[in-house]
């Protein structure tokens, strides 16, 4: 439904779903490859930017979702997680097309599809959990204190620089620093893992992925408990402010 709603607001409607990420990647290409000479090709940038856009778009649109659902919240005791969930799945739905573009690009660059590509699926699943957790948590923060929306925007910008979208994680020379980045920024790890599967044809660190999945599941349980017991408190904050 909100897919329909979003699309009808803009002139080029559905086309933007693909056009926007492609323009982003072209911009990065122009700045980092053509001007600064980092020497990274379009495929490398796409492998970073497309998963990252999935993450940042979901979290940003979810963060405001409860607050903008005010009139509905006023009307009936709907479960508040409905709002971020709706946003996350709206964005998720568009991702299929984008990943198709990414896979197409990979083939254009001469990496043929193989069974090895199925290793992408666990990455999808873990990234989905990550997106869900961050989106649900962001929506709570913004409904309690509106100002956090600005901080979330800044955090997304920071993550964009810190996740290795236009540079290679493995170029960090200090292994301790590199390890720290991978541990504390799951997006950096995931983007690197996508590249390992699609471009290098190798396999990522499976243990790390399982550990990450475990942490995310625990986080999700906690955040759902919060929604379960604090639903009316969230509503009171949203309505009375």
């Amino acid at each position: 439904m909100s897919l329909k709603s979003d699309a009808s607001k803009l002139y080029l409607s559905y086309l933007w779903w693909v056009l926007e990420p492609v323009l982003w990647v072209l911009m990065f290409y122009l700045v980092f490859t053509v001007l600064l000479g980092f020497g990274r090709d379009l495929l490398f940038l796409m492998c970073g930017k497309i998963p990252f856009l999935w993450f940042s778009k979901s979290v940003q649109s979810s963060s405001n979702s409860i607050v903008s659902g005010k009139s509905l919240i006023n009307q009936a005791n709907v479960p508040k997680q409905f709002f971020p969930y709706e946003q996350v799945h709206t964005v998720l739905y568009r991702q299929w097309l984008l990943f198709a573009v990414l896979f197409g690009m990979t083939i254009v660059y001469g990496y043929m599809p193989s069974l090895h590509w199925f290793w992408i699926l666990p990455l999808f699943l873990v990234q989905y959990l990550l997106v869900l957790l961050c989106a649900l948590a962001a929506a709570i923060c913004v409904s309690y204190v509106r100002d956090t929306r600005i901080l979330i925007g800044m955090a997304m910008m920071g993550l964009m620089f810190g996740s290795g979208i236009f540079w290679d994680l493995n170029r960090i020379e200090d292994p301790v620093k590199r390890e720290m980045l991978v541990t504390w920024n799951p997006m950096a790890y995931l983007i690197d893992a996508y590249r390992q599967v699609l471009i290098e044809g190798t396999l990522y660190d499976l243990h790390h992925l399982m550990g990450l999945a475990g942490v995310l599941v625990v986080g999700l349980i906690l955040v759902h408990l919060f929604y379960r017991y604090m639903g009316q408190s969230i509503a009171a904050r949203v309505i009375n402010s």
Binding site: M1, I73, Q75, A76, Q232, S233, A235, I239, S241
Partner: protein, 245 residues
């Protein structure tokens, strides 16, 4: 469950508004100060009171949207409730049909049931071709019609109405009133809130008068409406203060 069962019961409900003025400055304002009453299945309960006496806050609590600051709201298990106010939660870029579908599903309808209810909603609202156009193209009267029809044509256990009887033009009002009366005479439980005693008198079987956060009178509608009118008359004669002063 049968008629006469207690659907909701409010026990010593207190509620204070906590809103932010600016920066870290907050204002806490007590709205309800210990309210006790029951809503029985099948009845139409009217709540009258002047502006700022706590009617809307009471509705939000009854609806389960917010929790009372103190006291308890007990309710029968698994009841569906909806609050009908002007300017309901529409997504303005979606068509009236999609909005009605969404709203019916949020009331606990399955997608199939919601679709089945759509034809009734379309017919009752008399929106015609506009029903399939985005809500942003609606006039405010059309929007009210859509909201009213959606709430009225879907079956909920408890329907709460916040001063919305005057939703459309005369012809639609008559029809809405008639449909309301049908609902009221059927098993539908309704809580109707208004600042007009005569409106409550027209539709409700039992009434409460809310003043300064407490129930001033309760019982047969005619008596309550009379007392309320008396109070309001004396207020306008003497030029008394508003409820929040």
């Amino acid at each position: 469950m049968t008629t006469g069962d207690i659907l909701l019961s409010a026990k010593d409900i207190e509620y204070s508004y906590n809103s932010r003025i600016w920066g870290f400055k907050h204002l806490s304002y007590p709205v309800l100060k210990g309210v006790n009453f029951e809503v029985r299945r099948g009845e139409t309960l009217g709540v009258v009171g002047r502006n700022g006496c706590g009617k809307s806050s009471l509705l939000r609590i009854l609806n389960g949207v917010v929790a009372p600051t103190r006291g308890k709201l007990e309710h029968a298990p698994h009841i569906s409730r909806i609050l009908l106010t002007l300017g309901m939660g529409f997504d303005k870029s979606l068509s009236g049909r999609d909005n009605a579908l969404l709203s019916a599903m949020l009331q606990g309808y399955t997608k199939k049931e919601a679709r089945a209810a759509l034809d009734n909603i379309k017919e009752f609202s008399e929106l015609g071709d506009f029903f399939d156009r985005p809500v942003k193209t609606y006039s405010s009267g059309m929007r009210a019609r859509l909201g009213f029809s959606t709430a009225l044509m879907t079956d909920v256990d408890l329907l709460m109405i916040d001063e919305t009887l005057s939703v459309g033009d005369q012809q639609f009002n008559k029809k809405a009133e008639k449909a309301m009366m049908e609902k009221i005479n059927s098993e539908q439980t309704v809580v109707f809130v208004s600042h007009s005693g005569s409106q409550v008198n027209k539709v409700c079987s039992r009434a409460l008068w809310l003043e300064d956060g407490v129930i001033k009178a309760e019982g047969e509608t005619r008596e309550v409406a009379k007392e309320y009118k008396h109070f309001m008359d004396s207020l306008s004669k003497k030029g008394g203060k508003s409820a929040w002063q």
